[in-house]
Structures are given as structure tokens and as C-alpha cells.
């Protein structure tokens, strides 16, 4: 077992005829992911890398009733509609690769997804991988290896470097999840930490956050309740201070959003915070050995 996807997961690619989507459809198929269909309106009947293209998600679902996961590769202005289409057609998990989706669009899609109990991951996620079983998105397979560490990060490249760093130290991953780099995310740290906490194939979690936003702080109270160790890596300590707008943001978010506020919230709630990438496997080992 892994979280969110496994080797039986059937998946579709929305926007499959785009060049990036087409290349990564090939990579996913090579990895063993069951890509059963693609969707591009007006291009129904074509095929991409041997995968049949449909005009609508519902057309695809008629022929593939077991598909539960869609990945979204369409341009940002069409992302909201593509997400809603997948939700209405019955997808349970929607992995949004598209980046820079308008904030109001994503708020709305997220709202509909929550009402329908659908998980959106992203936008601007590299996707997720359960090494050796399934890959949805565009993560480079070389970075990952099967194992018992869950990872969850906002940045795609940081996800790869962490897995890389873990692999070099002999730690494989149960599942690696990219939350996405957009400001509004369908799934946040807490959601994924909960899944890892319950997953019998995961022993510990590495979470990587960064300056900006509130998701790291919001996850902190849950970490306190977790039985599994959490190693956190927060970037942006050296970044120039971000902007602030008016009083409204401060009223709502208080002092959240800096690297320092995130590190403090995580440490106070029992996460072990790494300073560098190479420190991560070391701290992980300590935590798992109980020597920490």
C-alpha cells in the first residue's frame, strides 16, 4: 500500500495533446502507470502514445468506468473548467500540473472539490509517485526509489533533491507528494501528513516547506498528535523579506508566512527541522533509531 495512488490506479490525462503532457504520458506509461485515456476537446478520436483521446471526460468514463485519477495539463485559463469537469465525471483525485492558475479560479475549484469529497493536488504540482508502482505527473523517476519514507513538499525540484538525498543515504520512499507551488493549493501539508500517519507502509515523513503562505503553520498542531517522526526542511531563510499588503492580511494571518515563523511552529510541535538537504537523512536516521 502507498497513499493516494497505487499500481491498480487508472488515470487520465486532461490536455493530453499538449507537448509536455504527451511526453509525460509516455514516461508515465513506461513507468507502468495505467493511463487509460486522454482528453482534449475537439480532438476526440486521435491518439497520443497509444492512448485514446476523447472530447470530454464523460465520454472517456463511459469506456473506462474504473478510472479515478485525472491529471490536468491544460493552460491556466482552462484549468478551473478542466478540474470541475473531472470532478463532475466522478474522478476522486485530480492532480493539477498546470501552474499559475488564477487564485479565484482555484478557490472555486477547491470549494467544489471539498463539497464532493474529491482530492485536488496542486496547482503547479509535479505530481506524485509511489516508487515502483505508479507515477502521476512529471517527476523524474531517477530521483526516487521504493522504501518506507513519505515525502511531501511544495516545490517540485526540492521534492527531487530530497528523494535524491534520501536515496543516496539508503532511504527509499513509500510515496512522494508534490503539493504544488501555486498560492492556493487543493491539498495541504496536514492532509498528506494524515494519510502518511495512517499508512502502514510509511515509517516517517519528510516535509519541505518554504517562505510564504500559511500551510506549514497550519499543519503544526497535527504534527503534535502524530506517532511517526516528521523531519521538516524550510527554505527561504536567506530570501529577501516578502511584501505585505495593508492591514487586511495581517488581521487574518497574523505573523505567519516567514521561514522563522514556520520553523518555530514546526519545532514547537515536535518536528525535527533540518538545516540542509544532507542533514535530512541524518536526522531521519536518528529519529528512526530513537536516538534523537
Amino acid at each position: 500500500m502507498a497513499i493516494i495512488i497505487d499500481r491498480h490506479t487508472e488515470t487520465i490525462v486532461q490536455g493530453i495533446t499538449g507537448s509536455n503532457a504527451a511526453v509525460h504520458t509516455k514516461f508515465m506509461l513506461e513507468y507502468g502507470t495505467k493511463v487509460v485515456g486522454g482528453v482534449t476537446p475537439g480532438k476526440g478520436g486521435q491518439n497520443v502514445e497509444g492512448v485514446k483521446v476523447y472530447d470530454t471526460v464523460s465520454d472517456c468514463v463511459v469506456e473506462h468506468p474504473n478510472v479515478t485519477v485525472a491529471s490536468i495539463w491544460v493552460p491556466p485559463r482552462f484549468a478551473r473548467d478542466a478540474i470541475l469537469e473531472s470532478i463532475e465525471a466522478g474522478m476522486k483525485r485530480v492532480i493539477v500540473i498546470t501552474e499559475r492558475i488564477p487564485v479565484h479560479d482555484m478557490l472555486y475549484a477547491r470549494h467544489v472539490a471539498r463539497e464532493k469529497k474529491v482530492m485536488i493536488i496542486g496547482g503547479n504540482t509535479p505530481g506524485l509517485i509511489s516508487p515502483g508502482r505508479s507515477l502521476v505527473g512529471m517527476l523524474p523517476k531517477i530521483a526516487f526509489g521504493a522504501g518506507r519514507i513519505g515525502t511531501v513538499a511544495r516545490s517540485g525540484a526540492v521534492t527531487y533533491y530530497i528523494a535524491n538525498s534520501l536515496n543516496l543515504a539508503g532511504f527509499g520512499q513509500s510515496t512522494s507528494v508534490g503539493l504544488g507551488g501555486d498560492p492556493i493549493l487543493g491539498t495541504n501539508f496536514e492532509d498528506v501528513l494524515r494519510l502518511f500517519e495512517e499508512d502502514p507502509e510509511t515509517d516517517a515523513v519528510v516535509m519541505a516547506g518554504e517562505i510564504g503562505g500559511v500551510y506549514e503553520e497550519l499543519a503544526a498542531p497535527f504534527i503534535k498528535t502524530m506517532k511517526k517522526p516528521v523531519i521538516a526542511y524550510i527554505t527561504g531563510k536567506a530570501a529577501p523579506q516578502g511584501k505585505r499588503l495593508g492591514h487586511a492580511g495581517a488581521i487574518v494571518e497574523g505573523n505567519m508566512g516567514t521561514a522563522a515563523s514556520k520553523i518555530a511552529a514546526l519545532e514547537e510541535n515536535g518536528a525535527v527541522v533540518a538545516e540542509t538537504l544532507s542533514e535530512i537523512p541524518r536526522l531521519l536516521k536518528q529519529a528512526l533509531d530513537g536516538t534523537h
Binding site: N20, I101, V103, Y108, G236, K237, A238, G246
Partner: protein
């Protein structure tokens, strides 16, 4: 994307949110001071708050006084911004100062209307101490603001009788503005009730969603387009902006050529951690073209402060072969003398490797100071080596 107060107020006017009569004045149109009815309030235009305390908001009773104050403000630096315009507004007599804002609440993931019967500079203090209640009114994303909701907010602002309707109207218009212009924040602080019972937005703060600008051509017509918000831009930053590259100059000697915004931030941290000094922040975006990659390298090469370049590509959506082609072409065309210590891993790594190896064979003299490590070298080793190279170069 933050707007200047005068830009925000232009949008307010379009949407029917009342603002004081005003004129924007710079050095080029001081003559417009003749059009103004005195007394006035002069407000320097800057993104950064704290203008009052910095003496950048002042009252003037007549033209001479106004002109003197303006000339005094123009050119001044306010938290890294040079003041080049002021907004002059007719002075109004204020009966009450209120607070009204619509914001994307990132905790609840909903639009949030906030209102308080006390507004002004101490609103954060009010929020912290709860000395005056701040009503938080959440809406479902995509929902219309019903009339009764606007009335509830206006009622919380303490508006009664005929003013209830006017207040509800202002709430409606501000919420419409928030939705129609894809705002992250639309804030009025203070919203005032004048002695003649008008409701006016005395200040206006608007933060637009950069990622939704494609659907607001009317903003470009109004002269409102993407801008650099933090401090004055350097020449390099201006060049980067034109090339569509998020770029910030820092004061170190290691040029950073990362893949992805997230790792760009991480690499700056790591360089500092290992005792180096980054010369810049840069973001390639999702899947940069080869042209863009070359422009990114050009920014670093042309910067005399950069002694060594750190590069990293972990190919996800962006492929190693494309990256390798761009890097090789750049090197062949520009013959860089600076050390470039890089690492390339990920999708299409093998293809990328072949491109680099062939180039090395074809142009051995160009690759003397250039290294491209692979998957099996930890990224932090690459960073450390770049720091050492930079130190060597400086000697």
C-alpha cells in the same frame, strides 16, 4: 500585484466606490495644482505603508504651500522606493473612520469581508486587542453577495437609516470589484463618514492576482500592468523583467542558475549556509525555452560581481536534453571565462549527458572551467565546489 493608491482609486471610481476628488501630480504636471480646490491632503504614492509616520501625508491650505510640500516629497526615498508622484485630494471633514476590506482568506480558502466601526492606522492593534469587534463575513467561492449580506456588513459598520443603504451599496461595489478584478485584497482604511453624511474611501489598497491579468485587458488600458514591487529595479532586474524572468539582484558573488522557483530559494539558503554569497535570485518557471535559459545565463555572465556560476537542473517537466542544448549553445556563443559548476539529473538525463560530452570533445578549450555533475553527486557538494571556485577567482 499591488497598486498605487491612485491606481486603486481609479478602479474604485469605475466601480462606483466614492473617493475624494483628486489629481495625480508629478514634476511634469505641477501646473495641475491650479485645478485643485484647497485645502487639500497631499499623499506621496508608494507601495509601502507607514507614509504618515514618514511625513509623506500632509495637509496644505493653498497652492504655494502645496507646491512646496510636493517638491519636498518628490524624489525622496521611502523604504527603497523613490517617490515620483503624489495624489492630491480635497480635504473632507470626517465624522467617523471605519474599516472595510475584502480579502482572499488563505486559512479558510474563502473570500472574507471584514468590517469594523473603527478604522484608521491602529486597525491592527484593534484586531489584536479586540477593543472594537471586527466582523468577519465569509462567502463561498463563486457565490454572489446577496443584498442582505451587504446590509449585514453595513449594519456592523454602525450605519443606520438612509446610510444603511448607502453603506450596503459600498460593500456591494467593493465586493464586485474584488471579484471582477481578481483581487487578492481590496481594502478601504479608513472608509469615512463625512460631516455631510457621505461615505468615502479615504485610502485604497488593492492587490491583484498577477496570474489572472490575462483576463483584464482593461487594466492595461488604464496603464496598470505587471510591475516590480520591492524597491527600485536595477538595470539587470529591468532586463530580466522584459525577458519574463523573475530575478532579484543580491549582493554576493555566486550567480545562481537554478531550475524552479522552489529550488532557487533553497539554493540561496544552502549557499549562505556553506559560507558563500549568492548574487541573485532567479526562477526559470515551469518549462523554460532554450532562449530563456540562455538569457538567464547571460544575466549572470554580464554581472561583473559574479565570480562563479552555480547551475542545477533536475529534469521534471523541463527536460535535461533541452537544458544541455541551451547550456552548450550559450557556452559556444559566449565563451564564458567564469567557472560554471553545475549538476544535471532527471528526465532525459542520458540524452543531455551525450550533448555535454560531445561539446566537451568539440570545444575542449571552452570547458576548462565548466563542470556538469550527474545524479550521483549530492547537490550540496556542487554548491560547496562553486563557493570554492568563487573564492579562487577572487584571489
Amino acid at each position: 500585484m499591488r497598486l498605487y493608491e491612485y491606481e486603486a482609486k481609479r478602479i474604485f471610481k469605475r466601480q462606483g466606490v466614492s473617493v475624494p476628488a483628486g489629481v495625480v501630480i508629478g514634476r511634469e504636471n505641477m501646473g495641475d495644482l491650479d485645478r485643485v480646490v484647497y485645502p487639500v491632503v497631499i499623499k506621496a504614492q508608494a507601495f509601502v505603508g507607514g507614509r504618515g509616520k514618514a511625513g509623506l501625508v500632509q495637509s496644505a491650505g493653498n497652492r504655494a504651500e502645496a507646491q512646496e510640500m510636493i517638491l519636498n516629497m518628490l524624489g525622496r526615498d521611502h523604504a527603497g522606493h523613490k517617490i515620483d508622484r503624489v495624489l492630491i485630494e480635497q480635504k473632507v471633514t470626517v465624522k467617523r473612520e471605519l474599516y472595510l476590506a475584502v480579502i482572499v482568506d488563505r486559512l479558510e480558502h474563502m473570500p472574507l469581508i471584514m468590517s469594523s466601526q473603527r478604522g484608521g492606522m491602529d486597525i491592527e492593534e484593534i484586531a489584536r486587542t479586540k477593543s472594537t469587534p471586527i466582523l468577519k463575513y465569509y462567502l463561498n467561492p463563486g457565490a454572489h453577495l446577496n443584498d442582505f449580506m451587504a446590509r449585514n456588513v453595513a449594519s456592523n459598520l454602525g450605519l443606520r437609516g438612509l446610510l444603511l443603504k448607502d453603506g450596503a451599496d459600498t460593500v456591494h461595489r467593493l465586493y464586485r470589484l474584488f471579484v471582477d478584478y481578481d483581487c487578492k485584497v481590496a481594502e478601504i482604511n479608513p472608509l469615512v463618514l463625512t460631516d455631510d453624511d457621505r461615505i468615502l474611501a479615504l485610502d485604497a489598497k488593492v492587490d491583484l492576482d498577477e496570474d489572472a491579468m490575462f483576463r483584464h485587458p482593461q487594466l492595461i488600458q488604464m496603464g496598470i500592468a505587471a510591475r516590480h514591487e520591492v524597491g527600485e529595479m536595477t538595470e539587470r532586474e529591468k532586463f530580466a523583467k522584459r525577458a519574463g524572468i523573475p530575478y532579484v539582484d543580491l549582493d554576493g558573488d555566486i550567480g545562481v542558475f537554478p531550475g524552479g522557483a522552489g529550488f532557487g530559494i533553497a539554493s540561496i539558503d544552502l549557499i549562505q549556509h556553506y559560507g558563500g554569497k549568492p548574487a541573485n535570485f532567479m526562477d526559470s518557471g515551469g518549462a523554460p525555452t532554450q532562449e530563456k535559459l540562455r538569457a538567464m545565463l547571460g544575466l549572470l555572465l554580464d554581472n561583473p560581481g559574479v565570480k562563479a556560476i552555480f547551475g542545477a537542473r533536475f529534469g521534471g517537466i523541463s527536460r535535461c536534453d533541452d537544458w544541455a542544448k541551451a547550456v552548450v549553445q550559450f557556452i559556444v556563443e559566449n565563451r564564458p571565462q567564469k567557472p560554471m559548476i553545475m549538476r544535471m539529473a532527471g528526465n532525459m538525463e542520458e540524452e543531455g549527458r551525450k550533448i555535454i560530452e560531445k561539446a566537451k570533445v568539440d570545444h575542449p578549450e571552452l570547458f576548462k572551467k565548466i563542470k556538469v555533475y550527474a545524479y550521483d553527486t549530492p547537490i550540496e557538494e556542487v554548491i560547496k565546489e562553486t563557493i570554492r571556485s568563487a573564492q579562487t577567482e577572487k584571489k
